[in-house]
Structure formats: structure tokens, C-alpha cells
């Protein structure tokens, strides 16, 4: 019924690391929630169900906890229903998560032969007899990636995560998405093991696309929590890039490189859990103090909320993958595993992987831009609204939660070898050789790539030298005894005020303009001109909204298509009987003609003749005369 191998235990550790600081934060947040009992009940049931998912050993228990996880998180989104958007977001989440559940159920019904209580070994046996393993693979993908939020099933994330109370957003984004990653590991390794090479390529492509799409939409977002939710899409993409590289290397028989890529994926899973939870907590504290999610209303919060600002800065550095943070280390590993693609013999694959490298590097650059925006606009400069003026540091429990999470982030950076030891054990548990000794061949100082002539990084040395050099320069600055004077900003002699600062919209402006073809932004611009002068105005208003392209293409157009067909079906119900008879006659004609075409000899002449007969018959009998 339950399984406690290294894979499960490492994910249990992940959930606990994410949940324990969160519990403190949540307790600090509690006084602001009206339905306390409802919240607490679902909150703890949510954590419990996530733990249940990662330790369950058969399909029934797995699906039970999976569904419990979905339902409790759905109720948690509905904790504070103040606006209509919350209900809409919750409904969207509910639909998407059950869309995924459906495919998981199909997957399990096939691999268990209908008996949902059998273990993984039995599932593997029936899966190996199933004639279409790729179908099973796609069921898994749809099931887990709709939860994890990978392209194109990611659209619900930026709606659902911001609407939940902040501790819950942190749990959902930081931890729940990782449970789906656990599912990928568990069922791809334990049930569908020998993978064709295409599967790895599919996952790599999805990963590369998700990372770019996530970060691009994050940049255009001004709602701080939606921005972070979009970054979750990006980071899930990065994890999937590592995962896909692992699968590709495995199929090609490069097992060491494959283990390295999988370990990189697990490491990034941990890192994303830590910094994303921390970022959501920080965003939650800001939201809690300013009562708005709009970044344009923040500004200068670092002065009133130093703890939040400092922890947010650490997380921002880490998520931007800047050395020596933990985010840098895991992205470094994923880069290294992609660079080892030069060992691949298949030339077309070899030529394709640089495009994934490009996507990941571009993501890194854009993530930096995005977090400079998120941090700079939120915490730096002058207060942009009265709400931002009257902020205080949050209460002790919330601060304590954030500090604990910062310690998790820092521990992932400082004790990388310790964590890596256990990630390696996961891979050993999944039937691979241990590669810990190859990653850390001489002590804990240097981390090696396992590729031939691979790179080496030394996080601790980097950290120490950065600290040392900075301290040295600051010491020199102190020794020189330079006088400091406080004065207002010069800014070329203009007066600085809250309104002269750059806004979040303006900050992302150049990038929005470059990716105009993707964003297709809706701009609203109005101004009060003076005496008819086009360029002189005393009041103006500019707003820009970006609706995700994927939402337009996949979701809105599906809704439109359903509406369209249902309209025509409705029209059909109002025909007279003769026309129904004519339709039946025409359908029979189609069947007969097509039978002749497909079953007997095909000739273009009769095909054209029959086509015209059909057209005339439809025109006269069904459409008839226009009134």
C-alpha cells in the first residue's frame, strides 16, 4: 500500500522542507482569514495528501490522495471569495485538474488491467504487454503536466495561484507542482521503462517551450503573484529540460550522463521549491501590507519591510540563476548535461540540442530582467501609492517562516554535496550506478560535470571569494574615511517624485515591444490635451494588458468552436420533415460513393462527377431556395 524507497523519501523531504516554514507563515497569516476552521482543515489535509501521493504504492491509493490534493487545494483557493475572479479561477483550476485526472485514470486502468490495487511491478508487466506504449506516455504527460503547468496546459496557473491566500500559493507553486514531477519520475521509471528516443525529445521540447513562454509572460505581468506563477511555468520547463536530457541520454546508452541530468532535474526541483515558496511568502507579506497585488502601487517597501526585502532579494538572486546561489548550481548542471550532447552520435539530434541551450540561456537572461523588475519596482524607489506609504514589517510568525525558508535556500547552496548524496541514492534506487563520486571526486569543494572535459564549479569558493572581496573593498572604503552626505536625487536637475519613476509597464517596455508578435497587447491610452495640441497634455492614462496567446488559441477558440457547432445543431432541430429526409438521402449517397471510392478502383473522373452530384443534391434538397 505504501512505498518508502529513496525516491519517495526524497520527495517526502521536499514536501516537509516546503511545508514546515510554511506552517509558521500560515499561522502568522491566520488572523486575516475569516473562515479559520475551513482554512486550517483544508490546509493540513492538503499537506497530508501531498505526503500521501508520494508514498502510495498502488494506483488506488495514489489516485485517492491525488484527488484529495486537488480538492483541498481547490477549496483553499476559495478561502477568501471577495471578487468574481476568484470563483472563475477556482472553476478553471477544478476543470484543468480533473482534465488531468481523467488521463491518469485512463493510464491506470490500462496498466493495472482494471485491478487498481496492484503494485508498480505488476503495472510494469501489463504495460509491457500493451501494444501502444506511446499512448500510455501521452496519458502520463497530459495527466501530470496539466498539474505541473507545462505548455500548453499551463494557462490555469497564473489565474489560480494568485487567488489563493499567500501561504497556499507558496505551497501550491512551491510544492504541489513538484508532486507532479514525482509522478513523472515514478511512473516513467517504474512502469514505462525502456523509453523510445522520441519521448525524451518530446519532454525536452515541452521543457524548452515552457521555460521561454513562462518567463516571457512573467515579464509582461504586473500582478506580483501572477508574475511568480508564470515563473513557476518557467522553472517547471527547466526541470523538464533536465528530465528530457536524462531520457535522451538513457536511450542512447549514456547512463552516467543520464543520471547526471536526472540529478540536475531533482536538484532544480528542490531549488525551485525553496526559492519559489520564499518568493510567494514575500509577495504575500507585501500584499498583506498594501492590500493590492498590482506592482505599480508598490515602491520603496525596503524601508518599512527590511526582512521581507532581504529574503526576497536572496530568492530573486537564486531564481535568476546568479552565482553562487543554488539556482545557479542546478541550472549549471542542466547546462552541463546539455553541453555533453557533443558525445551524441546522431547528428540531427546533436544539431537540435543547441536550440534547447539557446532557450535555456535566453530564459536565464529574461529571468534576470524580470526579477530586477519585480524587486526594483516593489522594494526600491519611492512609494507609488498611499497604500505603500503605510506599510510595516509583518508579524513575527510570518517573518520567522520567511527566515526559515531563506535558511532552506541557503542550505541548498552551502550543503549541495549533502543533498547531492541523497539525490544520487534516488538514482541508485531507480537502478543506476552511483555517480556521486564522479560529481565530487576530490572533496566537497569542486562540483564536476560528468561529461568528458566537462566544466567544474566550486560554489563554496565562489561564495567565500565574493564575500571576501566585497568585505575587503568595503573595509577599504571605511578605512579611507570618506565623508557621506545625504541629498535628494539629482536626476539631471528634475524633481523626483513618485510619478517620475519608471513603472513596471515601462520597465518591461522594450522586451514587450520585441515580442509584440507573441504578446499582441491590448493598449488603452487616453490623454487630456491642452487647447488641441497633440503633444501637450496635463493628464494621461496608459494601460497595457497581455492575454496569453495559448489561452486565445487553445481555450477561447475551443469555446468558440463548441458554441459554433451547438448553434448549427440547434438550427438542425428546426427543419421540416422533408429536409430531414433529404439529409438522410444525401448521407446515404455519401456512404455509397465513398464506399465505391475506397473499396473499389479509384478514378478522378468519377470522383469529380460524384462530387458535383453531391453538391447539386445538397444545394437543391437541403439548402433549398433562400427566402
Amino acid at each position: 500500500m505504501f512505498v518508502f524507497d529513496w525516491l519517495s523519501l526524497i520527495f517526502v523531504a521536499l514536501i516537509l522542507l516546503g511545508a514546515i516554514p510554511n506552517i509558521f507563515y500560515s499561522s502568522g497569516y491566520l488572523p486575516h482569514i475569516e473562515r479559520k476552521l475551513h482554512y486550517q482543515l483544508h490546509y493540513f489535509a492538503f499537506i497530508f495528501s501531498m505526503l500521501g501521493v508520494v508514498v502510495s504504492a498502488n494506483a488506488l491509493v495514489f489516485l485517492f490522495f491525488w484527488e484529495l490534493m486537488s480538492l483541498t487545494s481547490w477549496q483553499l483557493i476559495l478561502t477568501e471569495v471577495k471578487e468574481n475572479a476568484t470563483i472563475k479561477a477556482a472553476r478553471f483550476y477544478f476543470t484543468m485538474t480533473h482534465f488531468g485526472f481523467l488521463f491518469l485514470l485512463l493510464f491506470f486502468l490500462i496498466v493495472t488491467d482494471g485491478d487498481l490495487t496492484v503494485g508498480f511491478a505488476a503495472m510494469k508487466l501489463s504495460a509491457s504487454h500493451f501494444a501502444y506504449p506511446t499512448l500510455l506516455f501521452f496519458f502520463l504527460l497530459l495527466g501530470f503536466l496539466s498539474k505541473a503547468g507545462a505548455v500548453p496546459l499551463h494557462v490555469w496557473l497564473p489565474y489560480a495561484h494568485p487567488q489563493a491566500p499567500s501561504p497556499v500559493s507558496a505551497l501550491m507553486s512551491g510544492v504541489m507542482l513538484k508532486v507532479a514531477i514525482y509522478g513523472m519520475f515514478r511512473f516513467l521509471f517504474d512502469v514505462l521503462y525502456p523509453w523510445p528516443i522520441e519521448w525524451g525529445i518530446v519532454i525536452l521540447t515541452i521543457g524548452a517551450l515552457s521555460s521561454l513562454v513562462g518567463v516571457l509572460y512573467a515579464l509582461s505581468e504586473h500582478d506580483i503573484k501572477a508574475l511568480l506563477a508564470n515563473h513557476s511555468i518557467e522553472n517547471i520547463g527547466i526541470i523538464l529540460i533536465g528530465f528530457g536530457m536524462g531520457m535522451i541520454f538513457d536511450t542512447l546508452g549514456l547512463t552516467t550522463l543520464s543520471s547526471f541530468a536526472f540529478i540536475a532535474a531533482i536538484f532544480h526541483t528542490f531549488n525551485h521549491m525553496s526559492f519559489k515558496s520564499l518568493l510567494f511568502m514575500g509577495a504575500g507579506s507585501v500584499l498583506h501590507q498594501t492590500y493590492t497585488k498590482n506592482m505599480e502601487k508598490y515602491g520603496g517597501l525596503i524601508k518599512a519591510m527590511p526582512v521581507t526585502a532581504f529574503t526576497f532579494l536572496i530568492a530573486a538572486i537564486s531564481i535568476s540563476a546568479l552565482p553562487p546561489s543554488n539556482g545557479f548550481l542546478s541550472e549549471w548542471m542542466i547546462f552541463q548535461s546539455m553541453l555533453s550532447s557533443s558525445h551524441i552520435d546522431n547528428i540531427s539530434l546533436k544539431l537540435a540540442i543547441p536550440f534547447a541551450i539557446f532557450a535555456l540561456a535566453m530564459t536565464g537572461g529574461l529571468a534576470i530582467a524580470c526579477f530586477v523588475k519585480a524587486y526594483g519596482i516593489t522594494f526600491l524607489g519611492l512609494h507609488r501609492s498611499t497604500n505603500a506609504k503605510h506599510t510595516h514589517e509583518v508579524n513575527f510568525l510570518m517573518r520567522f517562516g520567511m527566515i526559515l525558508m531563506t535558511l532552506v535556500v541557503i542550505s541548498l547552496m552551502l550543503f549541495t554535496p549533502f543533498y547531492m548524496h541523497y539525490f544520487d541514492k534516488v538514482m541508485v534506487g531507480l537502478g543506476r550506478a552511483s555517480i556521486y563520486a564522479q560529481i565530487f571526486p576530490n572533496g566537497v569543494w569542486n562540483m564536476h560535470s560528468v561529461g568528458i572535459n566537462g566544466g567544474i564549479v566550486s560554489p563554496l569558493i565562489l561564495l567565500l571569494s565574493l564575500g571576501g572581496v566585497t568585505a575587503f573593498i568595503m573595509f577599504a572604503y571605511k578605512v579611507f574615511g570618506i565623508k557621506t552626505r545625504i541629498h535628494n536625487s539629482w536626476a539631471c536637475g528634475y524633481k523626483t517624485s513618485a510619478k517620475t519613476q519608471y513603472t513596471a509597464t515601462g520597465f518591461a517596455g522594450p522586451i514587450r515591444r520585441l515580442f509584440d508578435w507573441l504578446y499582441k497587447p491590448e493598449e488603452h491610452f487616453s490623454k487630456q490635451t491642452i487647447a488641441g495640441h497633440e503633444t501637450k497634455f496635463d493628464d494621461s492614462h496608459y494601460e497595457v494588458h497581455v492575454k496569453p496567446l495559448f489561452e486565445k488559441v487553445f481555450y477561447t477558440s475551443i469555446v468558440k468552436a463548441v458554441n459554433f457547432t451547438s448553434y448549427w445543431v440547434y438550427r438542425l432541430a428546426h427543419f421540416e420533415q422533408t429536409r430531414y429526409a433529404a439529409m438522410i438521402f444525401n448521407i446515404m449517397l455519401v456512404v455509397l460513393f465513398s464506399y465505391r471510392i475506397f473499396a473499389h478502383d479509384f478514378s478522378w473522373a468519377t470522383f469529380v462527377l460524384e462530387f458535383f452530384v453531391m453538391m447539386i443534391s445538397v444545394r437543391i434538397l437541403i439548402i433549398g431556395d433562400k427566402k
Partner: protein, 306 residues
């Protein structure tokens, strides 16, 4: 070990000289009376004697960020390929760490721009974020291609390998990588087609806009950081794309290296005089060119056989 430290100190010392030299060359080519090539040192010493004025709108970020802008770049100096054969060098640090450290420095510089609450700072940060986001992929791909040719991902080791065994058979991809890296050198250091280091017009400023509200020692630190950044890029270009002259004895090898740096500086000055500054929204075309050349370099390397 002594040679190693001598190299670093020499490079740090030569940094302001190179930037002043570029400026002087440009002025001469424009028939102006050139500034002294020691102007950089004069500016530095003058700024060191001034008091620091901190804007009252700023926060702790402005107090600490200048140091964090400089220190990652100083650390990169320790990871550069050797100048002289037999000198100590850190062989293993790879391109990601180096680009990462440079990004870390840029990250704090951009925060610094936003911290002063002036429109100029935000504008500079926004543009810098835009440019560096596009530089990043080209940089990674270029260095990947070079390290494939050199047979090692460590930048220091790659420099040595290229000097010992130049990949004649991969001349095409080497050249493509060189072009790409040179575009990046111009873009990352804010030279003319991307940013004009001399003007203070709001339409053209990128780097200058971010540091508009800094004075005194803080300004000196940031100026040092930007000159060191130029030296990092120039010496990476010199070591990776002009890999010769290491086998001589120490003073001659140093001399050759410095000549290479000045050659690059002259090249930059000539390009700056002969091109116009691009509009901000045309910059992606230039950087796209760098990305395309980086891809071409990789593809030719793979197709012609490793």
C-alpha cells in the same frame, strides 16, 4: 604563482588606460584634440577625493550595491586564461560561472539604477535588462562552440589548449565564433552601436543613465567596474581568438598581450567612429546576428566533424 598575480594586477592597472586610449583615438579620428591617455587615472583620483553624496530616496541597496557590482568582476579576473606560458591559472572555471558573475554584477547595477527613484535610472535599467537578456544566449553558445574547439569547457584551460594546438581544421567555425564574440564585446561594454558611453542624452543612454545619481567614490567604483569589464572581455578575446605569443618569456609575452589588448581597443575605436548608434529597438537585430553566428559556428563544427 607570482606571474599569475602580476597578470591580474597589470590587467586591473591597465583597465582605465585602455578606455582612455579608445576615447583619445576616437577624438583624434574626429579631428578633435585628443585627451591624454592617462585621463582615466586622473578621473579616478579626483573622484576618490570627493565626498559621496547619497540620494535621500535611496535605500540600503545603494549603500552596498556598488561593492557588489565591482567584486564579481574582480573575481572573474582570477579566472582568465594565462598570459604567459608556465604561469599559474585557474583551469577549471567554465563559461557559465564567468557569464554568471558578470550577470551578478549587472543585476546589482540595474537595482542601483532603480533605487535612485529617478526616471533616468529606471530607463537605464530597463534598457540594460533588455540588452543583457539578448546577450546571454549568444554568449553561452559562442563560448560553448569555442570550448568544443579547444576540447575543454574550462575557460582557462581552453585558452591554453588553443595556444598549444590551434584547430586549423575548424577555421570557419572559429571565425564565426570570433565575430559573434566581438559583437558581444561591443554590446556588453556599451560601445557605440549599442550604447554611447559619451553622451548624456536621454534617448541614447543606457549605462550612464543607471549611474547618473552616483558621485565620488561610488562613481569611481562603478567606473572601475566598467573598465574592468572591458578588460575581461578584451582579454578573453585576446586569449581565445588570438591564441599566440604565450610561449615567450615573461616580459615579452606580457608585451605581446598588451599589444593585443591595444589592438582590440583600436578596433573598437575604429568601429565606433565608423558606425552610428543604433536605435534601441534595432539592437535585437545586431544581437540576433551574434546569435546566428554562434549557431553557425556550432553547426559548422558539428557538420564538418568533431
Amino acid at each position: 604563482m607570482i606571474l599569475y598575480f602580476v597578470t591580474i594586477i597589470l590587467l586591473v592597472l591597465i583597465a582605465p588606460l585602455l578606455l582612455s586610449y579608445i576615447k583619445a583615438t576616437k577624438m583624434m579620428l574626429l579631428f578633435k584634440r585628443p585627451i591624454s591617455i592617462f585621463q582615466g587615472y586622473r578621473d579616478f583620483s579626483k573622484l576618490m577625493h570627493k565626498e559621496t553624496i547619497i540620494s535621500e530616496e535611496t535605500s540600503a541597496i545603494t549603500t552596498y550595491a556598488p561593492f557588489l557590482v565591482l567584486s564579481p568582476l574582480l573575481i572573474v579576473m582570477f579566472f582568465l586564461p594565462p598570459v604567459v606560458h608556465g604561469s599559474y591559472y585557474v583551469s577549471f572555471v567554465d563559461a557559465f560561472t564567468i557569464t554568471g558573475l558578470i550577470s551578478l554584477s549587472t543585476f546589482f547595477l540595474m537595482l542601483l539604477g532603480l533605487d535612485s527613484a529617478s526616471a533616468f535610472g529606471g530607463m537605464g535599467s530597463s534598457r540594460e535588462a533588455f540588452i543583457s537578456a539578448l546577450v546571454e544566449p549568444a554568449m553561452v553558445l559562442t563560448i560553448f562552440s569555442v570550448s568544443l574547439m579547444a576540447g575543454n569547457l574550462g575557460v582557462g584551460q581552453a585558452g591554453v589548449n588553443l595556444a598549444q594546438h590551434f584547430p586549423q581544421e575548424h577555421m570557419a567555425s572559429f571565425l564565426f565564433a570570433g565575430i559573434s564574440f566581438f559583437i558581444l564585446l561591443m554590446a556588453e561594454n556599451g560601445r557605440i552601436p549599442v550604447d554611447n558611453p559619451e553622451t548624456h542624452l536621454e534617448l541614447t543612454m543606457v549605462h550612464e543613465a543607471m549611474i547618473l545619481d552616483l558621485t565620488g567614490v561610488y562613481l569611481a567604483i562603478i567606473e572601475t567596474a566598467s573598465s574592468i569589464k572591458f578588460v575581461i572581455f578584451a582579454s578573453l578575446f585576446a586569449s581565445l581568438f588570438m591564441p599566440f605569443g604565450l610561449e615567450f618569456t615573461a616580459p615579452i609575452a606580457f608585451l605581446i598581450f598588451i599589444v593585443k589588448l591595444f589592438f582590440i581597443a583600436t578596433l573598437v575605436a575604429l568601429l565606433e567612429v565608423n558606425t552610428a548608434k543604433l536605435r534601441l529597438f534595432k539592437i535585437p537585430n545586431l544581437l540576433g546576428l551574434a546569435i546566428v553566428f554562434a549557431f553557425l559556428s556550432l553547426i559548422t563544427f558539428y557538420v564538418l566533424g568533431a
